[in-house]
């Protein structure tokens, strides 16, 4: 007889038994050992038919093809740049993919991207050996100048961005900051008013810590309204509750 031991949206820790018996199937971030299904991460359990899934609440970023990330230049090579992706694997930015400009043979590559520069780039390829290629060709991909970089939990990035970018555009409207959120959890922001910039950081930290509690969008909206004293119009159909 199979038995489910967790409720929907219950917080589980690694090693916790989620279900007993063969009627349930292990989904993402869970594994089976004998008759039992265990959690392999800190996360929220969710049951989908017979499969048990886990929405992770913590953990490092894992590079995925097509992700737009914010990376830091860590090395300059003969043929391009090596960048830190915030995951266990660094990525390669080839000279061909770096700019639309023609780069002379033997040119000083630090003129384009120097050590410690942050760039918005897109992951074009991830091999099975985790060799990663990134590109700077595409809309919005650029070198970041000025502003500050903060690091958030990559699992919370979808919450920070919101449905169709609703959450981040709400923060942008309220604080007047320019914000770019990378899928790897690195966030760049720049504001004219340092207090507003600080408020944007605070708001994102709040989203990070409260994203698993339902009614997030309304809470963030009233938080921003209280802090700025302005009325914020939430856009239609953009409730952002937990998945």
């Amino acid at each position: 007889m199979s038995e489910l031991l967790v409720k929907e949206k219950q917080v589980t820790v690694p090693g916790e038994v989620l279900a007993e018996g063969m009627d349930y199937l292990p989904g993402n971030n869970t594994y089976r050992e004998g008759e039992k299904i265990f959690s392999s991460k800190l996360g929220l359990a969710s049951v989908d038919g017979r499969a048990i899934k886990l929405i992770p609440l913590s953990g490092k970023y894992l590079p995925k093809e097509g992700d737009t990330i914010i990376a830091e230049v860590i090395d300059i090579l003969m043929s391009g740049w090596r960048v830190d992706t915030g995951s266990a694997y660094s990525a390669m930015l080839n000279m061909k993919e770096a700019t639309s400009e023609f780069i002379q043979k033997g040119a000083d590559l630090t003129k384009y991207y120097d050590f410690g520069d942050h760039i918005v780039c897109k992951i074009t390829q991830v091999t099975s050996q985790m060799l990663i290629d990134v590109s700077m060709r595409g809309p919005g991909l650029r070198k970041l100048t000025g502003g500050r970089i903060i690091r958030a939990n990559p699992n919370k990035v979808p919450r920070i961005i919101g449905k169709k970018g609703s959450m981040v555009s709400m923060i942008k409207d309220a604080t007047g900051c320019r914000i770019t959120v990378g899928q790897n959890g690195v966030i760049w922001l720049q504001g004219e008013d340092p207090n507003m910039e600080l408020l944007a950081v605070k708001t994102m930290r709040k989203i990070e810590s409260e994203s698993h509690i339902s009614g997030l969008t309304d809470r963030i909206k009233s938080f921003l309204e209280k802090e700025t004293g302005k009325k914020i119009s939430a856009k239609e159909g953009e409730k952002n509750d937990v998945r």
Binding site: D114, G116, R148, P194
Partner: protein, 258 residues
């Protein structure tokens, strides 16, 4: 490496504000908690913002050194566990932890915070040694000030253990405190560009030009100085930093009373 971050920090300081919204000469929230461990003779936990430091004082008996037969001794150590920060490595103590313990040792020693002569039991034969051990629980900037504050708090909290046949009887604590003469603590003032700040965040610590740790006692007298960082300091800057250090030292000292 941190050019962009440094530029941003300086731009904010030009407007009189820090990364976390503080003023340049403002501490994060400071709290002091006494008697936090059972095994140490005295202990304290100090929190400055997210930085947390636990310090314990152990008392040992030893034969005094020949050059100071009528004085007890003082020893300060710091261990930076990798749990406190991803930048700390396990293994033998690194240069940061050695500097930290030496700077705090100097502050306590040179201010004569503890009357070492009163720690002598039998001249030339038996004296107390005060062993101060500091452990950062979370390193989020400004370990110097957190360390110095927790060290003096732990010293104030210390009760001497009993003695049986010239051996320490750790199970029986007496009510006798350490002979504390002065309350010495330090304030670290950092220079970024032309700005002076105190209580740096880790992001700020990475981009400072220079820092000066100013140890003072309750009368505002200077006890020790330690300069760090790559850039030189002018005489005027040192004057300003010392002044700021003395002023902020008073603010920190008030936290010890409550």
């Amino acid at each position: 490496m941190n050019k962009a971050s440094r530029k941003h920090i300086i731009e904010l300081l030009d407007k009189g504000i820090r990364l976390d919204g503080r003023k340049p000469d403002q501490y994060r929230e400071v709290s002091v908690e006494f008697d936090v461990t059972r095994s140490a003779e005295g202990s304290a936990r100090v929190k400055i913002g997210d930085t947390e430091m636990i310090t314990g004082v152990k008392m040992e008996l030893f034969e005094p050194y020949p050059d100071t037969p009528d004085q007890g001794s003082l020893m300060v150590g710091a261990e930076f566990s990798p749990m406190a920060s991803p930048e700390f490595e396990s293994g033998p103590p690194g240069i940061e932890s050695i500097e930290l313990s030496r700077v705090i040792d100097r502050g306590i020693r040179e201010s004569q915070a503890i009357d070492l002569k009163k720690l002598c039991l039998k001249k030339g034969e038996l004296c107390w040694m005060v062993v101060i051990d500091m452990a950062p629980i979370n390193a989020a900037g400004n370990l110097f000030d957190a360390g110095a504050l927790s060290a003096i708090a732990a010293i104030k909290d210390t009760k001497l253990p009993g003695i049986k046949d010239d051996q320490v009887d750790y199970d029986n604590k007496t009510e006798d405190p350490l002979p504390v003469k002065k309350v010495a603590l330090s304030v670290t003032v950092c220079k970024i560009g032309k700005h002076l700040i105190i209580d740096p965040l880790p992001e700020e610590e990475k981009v400072i030009d220079a820092r000066l740790t100013v140890a003072t006692d309750e009368s505002g007298e200077l006890c020790a100085l330690q300069k760090g960082g790559e850039e030189p300091l002018s005489v005027e800057e040192i004057d300003k930093m010392v002044e700021l250090g003395i002023e902020k030292g008073k603010e920190l000292r008030a936290k010890l009373e409550s």
